[in-house]
């Protein structure tokens, strides 16, 4: 049973965190990271060859973290697999006890270490969400063939309130929900004002009532990181005030300040109508998740 | 030491270059003999890359293109177009081992005293004494390997 689903359905503020698999075949590398997250979040996202860099498969890493008692969220991008492989992976994931999946487009191959690879994109993320929903609820695959046993999946999708065009973002969110998304994790938030504006549009369309929305947060490690994200990562909105704020503290205090900002963001998220939880993405800084969750008053996680 | 010039130059020029009528052309060809070949054009923009290459292939150690001053092209863009084509032609000849200095663009700055065709011709012919023969016409040494490739 999906822990995330249980927590959300109970009405409690949910916490998810992210775990990136290693660029190698060592299972210990996954276990070590996962141990840092034990008890700090309800369910753990495992990324899928993020930034198009070859890493241990999300499915394998999910299986490893499950073996130490965590509840994995399988992230799947449509960049690398055709519909045969995607549907097959959903069946496989369900068979080994994975109960959460997030359906994503995926970063373009150009950004990673295999820019010469073909991008599959047989399905897009929305078609993939619908595919998983039909497999789960109607026990059938694309084309209509029946499944011997339906997979059991809590279906998630991503939303980016900071990409353009702003007004269309909620239309697309609506499509993801109509296609079958049960929960949404947003891109990490630095511009709260813009995020609240987006949430207003979300509420206007009643989408918060149809789906659980978790706001994404990522702690800053340095002013350089903030600047990099502002200038080099598509779909990110990092206000100048945050960079100034990070620059205003001495180097030894950067991480502390980054965590402070993150906690403040979570406190604000808790007050926003329609937000059901937070998704903490502490990239290559999994130790910070515990501290952030603690300071934001999110611990201990409920046992349901 | 032989001072006689054995280089051949090709000069393509726009007919709007001052004092560039047929009589001037004939008198220049008479004066310089085989060392110069003059090609009048209705506009420098009519010159294509293939013309420049054919000149280098067939007889020219060096090619000059004389255009109207910037902003004064009667067809508005001709002198801009030939400038870009010469750039491309230079990279083509470089890729086969011919020095890009063998293709030259002369575009006077507007407002300069109007230089006549004969003045240009005299100037480039004088500079040509320092010019080495084009590698296209050098007899390749017997059993020579391939020329150095970029």
């Amino acid at each position: 049973m999906s822990v995330l689903k249980k927590v959300l359905e109970s009405g409690k503020f949910a916490v998810t965190a992210e775990c990136g698999p290693p660029k190698g075949a060592d299972p210990e590398a996954v276990i070590k990271k996962a141990e840092l997250l034990k008890g700090k979040a309800d369910s753990i996202n495992v990324t899928d060859n993020q930034t198009a860099i070859v890493r241990m498969s999300s499915m394998a890493a999910c299986s490893l973290i499950k073996s130490i008692g965590l509840d994995p969220i399988l992230q799947v991008v449509v960049r690398d697999r055709n519909r045969i492989a995607l549907q097959s992976d959903i069946l496989g994931a369900s068979a080994i006890g994975i109960r959460n999946v997030v359906c994503l487009s995926g970063d373009h191959m150009r950004f990673g270490n295999q820019p010469q690879a073909v991008g599959v994109f047989d399905l897009d993320s929305i078609q993939f969400i619908k595919t998983v929903k039909d497999m789960r609820d109607e026990s059938k695959i694309v084309g209509g063939d029946a499944l011997a046993k339906a997979p059991d999946m809590f279906i998630g999708a991503a939303a980016n309130p900071f990409a353009d065009p702003l007004e269309f973002r909620v239309v697309r969110l609506g499509k993801k929900i109509a296609a079958g998304a049960d929960f949404i994790q947003t891109q990490c938030i630095y511009n709260m004002d813009r995020f609240e504006k987006w949430m207003e549009m979300v509420r206007d369309r009643g989408l918060d009532k149809k789906c659980y929305i978790l706001g994404g947060v990522t702690p800053l490690k340095s002013p350089g990181m903030a600047k990099y994200m502002k200038n080099n990562v598509a779909g990110m909105d990092v206000p100048d005030e945050l960079i100034t704020r990070m620059q205003g503290v001495p180097k030894e205090k950067w991480k502390e300040e980054g965590i402070k900002i993150c906690v403040e963001t979570i406190e604000r998220l808790k007050t926003i109508k329609g937000i059901s939880g937070v998704h903490i993405m502490a990239i290559e800084w999994e130790e910070a998740v515990g501290e952030i969750a603690e300071k934001a008053g999110l611990l201990p996680r409920p046992i349901i | 030491m032989k001072k006689e010039l054995t280089r051949t130059l090709a000069i393509f020029y726009c007919q709007n270059v001052p004092e560039s009528g047929e009589e001037v052309r004939q008198s220049l060809e008479k004066r310089y003999g085989k060392s110069i070949r003059l090609f009048p054009m209705p506009c420098s923009g009519r010159i294509d890359i293939v013309h420049l290459l054919r000149a280098l292939e067939e007889f020219a150690d060096s090619v000059y293109v004389i255009t109207c001053p910037e902003g004064s092209c009667k067809y508005l863009e001709g002198n801009k177009r030939i400038k870009k084509r010469i750039e491309r032609a230079k990279s083509i000849i470089e890729s086969i081992g011919i020095e890009k200095e063998r293709l030259n663009l002369i575009t006077p700055v507007s407002g300069d005293d109007k230089v006549s065709l004969a003045s240009y011709a005299d100037e480039v012919m004088e500079g040509a004494t320092k010019l080495t023969p084009s590698p296209v016409f050098k007899k390749a040494a017997h059993g020579a390997g391939k020329t150095k490739r970029k």
Partner: protein
């Protein structure tokens, strides 16, 4: 049209190296339009190759001829009268043209001088843009005349993705976000609600479902 660009000179020289009598064949259609293989470019390439050979002491005969189209048998056949004089053809046709010539004269090697690229339009002088994938199942009406498969880097049919910023694609700031274009275009037709539909998975079998495709028209046959 089909676009292409000339291969690097060294690569062309390597391929023609073993041959003594080469006919350089241009094409006056698509590749002339994109300034890669038309009569002028064919003349320029042949001239450059002759100069290169001369400088290397390599006695090759290199002639040139430009056909109206290289992808149509009735035009290619014009080479019949001259072909016996050559031991290789250097073709400045697109991939389709090179192969059509090779089919006709399959005893002599046909060497491609171009890298064929994409189906596209001449957007502006000196600028060609890919806009069609040849999917065999055109949806351009639905998407307001902007193809999400050819012009979206991720081929999304229910776009845009989260990387769309300021109307630019995350892959390259010079690439417009096709989905921004689609949204703008449909908005101007007051048809934005067309995007409320969840477009189902594409039938890719129309593109390569049974291997290389062909079209047969009985009414067009002899």
């Amino acid at each position: 049209m089909i676009t292409a660009e000339q291969k690097p000179m060294d690569e062309i020289r390597d391929m023609i190296a073993p041959y003594k009598k080469i006919l350089t064949v241009g094409c006056a259609s698509c590749v002339a339009e994109c300034a890669a293989g038309g009569e002028k470019e064919t003349g320029a390439l042949a001239s450059a190759l002759r100069m290169a050979c001369k400088m290397a002491g390599d006695e090759k005969i290199i002639h040139e001829k430009t056909l109206d189209r290289q992808c149509v048998k009735d035009f290619v056949i014009q080479l019949d009268e001259v072909i016996k004089d050559y031991d290789a053809i250097l073709s400045l046709g697109c991939g389709a043209g090179v192969q059509a010539v090779a089919e006709m004269y399959n005893e002599i090697p046909v060497i491609p001088a171009l890298n064929t690229e994409f189906l596209g339009e001449t957007r502006d002088q000196g600028l060609w843009i890919e806009n069609c994938l040849g999917c065999g199942d055109c949806m351009l009406y639905t998407f307001g005349g902007v193809c999400p498969l050819a012009r979206c880097s991720k081929q999304l049919m229910n776009g845009p993705c989260g990387g769309s910023q300021d109307g630019r694609c995350e892959v390259d700031p010079d690439v417009p976000c096709a989905w921004q274009n689609i949204i703008d275009r449909l908005s101007s037709f007051k048809a934005l609600d067309r995007l409320d539909t969840i477009y189902p998975p594409k039938d890719w079998s129309k593109k390569r479902g049974a291997g290389p495709r062909k079209i047969v028209r009985e009414d067009q046959k002899r």
